[in-house]
């Protein structure tokens, strides 16, 4: 096991861990807001659940980027590959976009979605708008995922 290999593993941690942290925070926020509404009106459960999923996607993008690194770097095949330090750092650099943007955008998206729960509570027919407000935040997570993926594929 070389230092480069450790760094490559660390890049998987960045790609999976940070967006996962952000998503669990965001999904949690929406869940808290939603539980209040459901206690009054259990019929709204389905709609709110849909809204709660929205900030969860960053976590999935993170897992995706992490899996791509594992695939490209060969962590999923039989033996553990060995990398130079520079190669390891390159993997970390490739993981940074989705790591940071996934983390922060999931939290902000969770906040928007939690506010959107109010829309569902008062005007259930306008649910599409609540989801779209939240989806606007997602753009940046997708863009950063895109860059991370393109970098990982080329490494």
């Amino acid at each position: 096991m070389t230092l480069g290999t450790i760094l490559a593993l660390f890049s998987i941690g960045i790609a999976v861990g940070l967006p996962g942290y952000g998503s669990s925070y965001g999904v949690g926020l929406v869940g808290e807001a939603g539980a209040g509404v459901v206690s009054e009106n259990p019929d709204k459960f389905g709609q709110i659940l849909l809204l709660q999923i929205v900030p969860g996607t960053q976590g999935i993008y993170g897992v995706l980027a992490g899996l791509m690194i594992m695939l490209r770097a060969g962590f999923l095949s039989g033996s553990i590959p060995s990398f130079t330090v520079l190669e390891g750092v390159a993997y970390i650099m490739a993981a940074l976009p989705i790591g940071f943007v996934g983390w922060v955008s999931a939290i902000y998206q969770g906040r928007v979605a939690a506010a959107g729960v109010g829309i569902i509570a008062k005007k259930p027919n306008e649910m599409g708008k609540a989801i779209l407000f939240a989806a606007m935040v997602e753009t940046y997570a997708i863009l950063s995922l895109l860059v991370s993926l393109l970098l990982i594929i080329r490494l």
Binding site: D43, K44, F45, G46, Q47, L50, I53, V54, G56, T57, I60, Y61, V63, L64, L67, M68, L76, N125, G128, K129, I131, L132, A135, M136, E138, T139, I142, L143, L145, L146, L149, L150, I153
Partner: protein
């Protein structure tokens, strides 16, 4: 395929016909009534009429009764609703004839079931109350089993009060004799035994001293207990109470059974609730009509295509009523309704989530349909997912009958499923790479060496095409309203510039000539923009200045197109996660004996999860690309929704049965 044409309508008739007209309006659902200002020429409103107010409160009381009955039923027998119903709305399906049977003579039926519900409710409450009292008495009397005297005999004593106490055993306080020694006039005490937690005692005190005894005992940590003054000894009372409890529980079970059977009237209660609500709405609408001594007048909006059938219905039922229509005036705020038929119908849902376009502008539904279809398929990107999605939405359409938005969304999912199948076939996605050894993609494999770049290029190309298409629509809209200069300056030059830049960048691959053409197109477009974009400014310097600044807008176009990379992001995510699920499932094949079972479980649940997550994202992001990138180019939103007076059913969904 467009925004519905509206006419202003006025309906005039004798007051006697008002009820009949509201009934027809509600059934046709074609007229939006505008409540009239009282004090308009001709006098007051119909809501002054006593019978209208009486009608409202009459039906309101029935609506309340039915609500009570339904609440009662919910308490005793929950109705099963499928999980999906909570997404697209739940209704009780009922045949037209059955509905008619409940509603004919509905008031008698309503009174009967309300009365029955009330009786059951009261009976259940009273039995529950008696059970509560009996259980409480049993509990209180329990420790006093050994008392040997009926509590009521103490109550009859003239000079002595019987005081019952309990004390927590764990507390170490003064022993009883010491406590009572201090009190004057004390008569006698008796320790009545103890249970796990408490010790119990009875103190007989002079009436004059009972207050002092209570205080002394309380200070020593004894709590007063109120025994029920039964005529029997406590042990007798307990066995009587346990017999009573058994009987009461039988009685309660019978009543609950009756209540549960009573829920068989649910269909009737649903039907009647909706029937009375609609009747009440008729009266409320009629209250907004203008009225003179003998006539009524209402004004509102009607959809042009529904005018003929409405006039026919009115003429048949109320021939003395006149329906007068005119084209809307320039300055009137005309409500907007969309008409989209056939394949375009489901895509109206996408437009409606955004809102409604203004009257006189363009309905974007048919324009976005193809793009939405392609994008949805691209984001999902797996033929088997597409088959599942299509079948699931077809199944739900059959199972849960919905109207309006619900139907649109389910049909949209069906269309999305078909698009997914097509894109899956193009890119060889069948449960990820599960069958990639046998089935080759028709177009490209996203997981191949150049796959991701082809995918990304395709996404950008779709973006560039849709953005230009949007500008084309705006140009056409300008031409249609005679602003042909705007069409050339504001859209034409931009299209030339953007196409030119595109050729300049990408044309080199096709040949030298293309990039040269691109260069000149870019220059021509840019010069055109610099010369025209400042045309509203007062002087030459400002004109040129704003013209040059306007070129900066090219960054907006670039960011629009970059935004389409989400198609690649989402589509690729779906594929890679599918592949990883397959990978994990295949690892489980190595497990002895149950390997195949585990393989199947992980495969099925994994792909279901991936499918569900992707349906949401695919829908949201395909819609967003329409709203922000596409609508921004031409659409004019902010129309007022056309809300005709119509039948509104909260609970029932009536199946129209053809007469045989």
């Amino acid at each position: 395929m467009a925004i519905a044409e509206m006419l202003k309508v006025a309906i005039v008739g004798f007051k006697d016909d008002a009820a009949c007209v509201t009934d027809i309006m509600q059934k046709c659902g074609a007229v939006q009534v505008e409540p009239q200002e009282a004090g308009s020429p001709g006098g007051g409103r119909l809501d002054r009429a006593v019978d209208i107010q009486a009608g409202i409160s009459h039906y309101e009381s029935y609506v309340q009764d039915m609500k009570y009955v339904l609440d009662f039923m919910d308490k005793h027998k929950q109705i099963k609703k499928s999980f999906m119903a909570s997404f697209i709305g739940w209704h009780y399906r009922i045949g037209e004839r059955e509905y008619g049977r409940h509603v004919d003579g509905g008031e008698t039926l309503a009174r009967r079931i309300t009365e029955e519900a009330r009786q059951l409710d009261t009976a259940i409450a009273s039995v529950n109350e008696r059970i509560k009292t009996a259980s409480h008495d049993t509990e209180v009397l329990g420790p006093w089993k050994g008392l040997g005297v009926a509590p009521s005999s103490y109550q009859k004593a003239k000079s002595v009060d019987a005081l019952f106490f309990s004390k927590e055993k764990s507390r170490k306080d003064l022993p009883l004799p010491d406590v009572l020694e201090a009190v004057k006039g004390f008569a006698a005490w008796h320790e009545a035994g103890s249970d796990e937690r408490n010790a119990y005692c009875l103190v007989l005190a002079d009436k004059a001293a009972s207050q002092a005894v209570s205080e002394a005992m309380a200070a020593a940590g004894y709590a007063r207990v109120e025994l029920p003054w039964t005529e029997e000894r406590p042990d007798e009372a307990i066995s009587r109470l346990s017999r009573e409890l058994a009987e009461l529980n039988v009685e309660l079970a019978e009543l609950l059974k009756k209540a549960s059977d009573f829920c068989g009237h649910r269909a009737a209660a649903f039907s009647l609730f909706d029937h009375f609500s609609n009747k009440k709405a008729q009266n409320e609408t009629a209250a907004g009509f203008l009225a003179s001594g003998t006539a009524f007048l209402l004004e509102g909006w009607i959809r042009k295509d529904k005018l003929a059938s409405f006039e026919k219905a009115v003429a048949a039922a109320a021939p003395r009523v006149a329906v007068i229509t005119r084209e809307p005036a320039e300055d009137e705020d005309v409500p907007v309704d969309l008409i989209n038929k056939g394949v375009f119908f489901p895509f109206e849902a996408v437009t409606r989530i955004m809102g409604l376009p203004r009257q006189g502008s363009i309905d974007p539904t048919p324009l976005l349909a193809v793009f939405f279809f392609i994008y949805f398929g691209t984001c999902m990107g797996d033929a088997i997912y597409g088959v599942i999605l299509t079948l699931a939405s077809l199944f739900m359409m059959k199972k849960i009958k919905t109207a309006g938005m619900g139907t649109m969304l389910l049909q949209l999912m069906t269309a999305g499923g078909i698009a997914t199948i097509l894109f899956g076939i193009l890119t060889g996605g069948y449960f990820g790479d599960l069958f990639s050894r046998w089935i080759k993609p028709l177009w490209f494999d996203p997981m191949s060496e150049n796959g991701p770049l082809i995918f990304l290029g395709y996404a950008f190309a779709m973006g560039a095409f849709q953005v230009l298409f949007g500008m084309g629509i705006k140009a056409w809209d300008n031409l249609r309203s005679g602003k042909w200069l705007s069409a050339i300056y504001d859209q034409g030059f931009w299209v030339v510039l953007l196409l030119g830049v595109g050729l300049l960048i990408g044309g080199g691959a096709l040949g030298e000539v293309y990039s040269k053409v691109g260069k000149y197109m870019s220059i021509a477009g840019a010069v055109g923009l610099v010369l025209t974009q400042g045309r509203h400014q007062p002087n030459v310097i400002l004109k040129l200045g704003s013209g040059i600044v306007s070129l900066y807008n090219i960054t907006a176009f670039m960011s629009d197109i970059v935004s389409y990379s989400r198609l690649f992001g989402l589509g690729f995510t779906s594929i890679v996660i599918g592949i990883v699920i397959n990978y994990m499932a295949k690892m489980l094949l190595a497990v002895p004996v149950v390997g195949y079972l585990l393989f199947l479980v992980v495969l099925v649940f994994g792909h279901m999860f991936n499918l569900l997550i992707n349906v949401t994202s695919a829908f949201i992001h395909s819609a967003r690309l329409q709203y922000v990138e596409f609508f921004g180019k031409f659409a004019d939103f902010g129309g007022t929704k056309f809300e005709p007076f119509r039948v509104f059913n909260k609970y029932v969904d009536i199946d129209i049965e053809e007469a045989k």
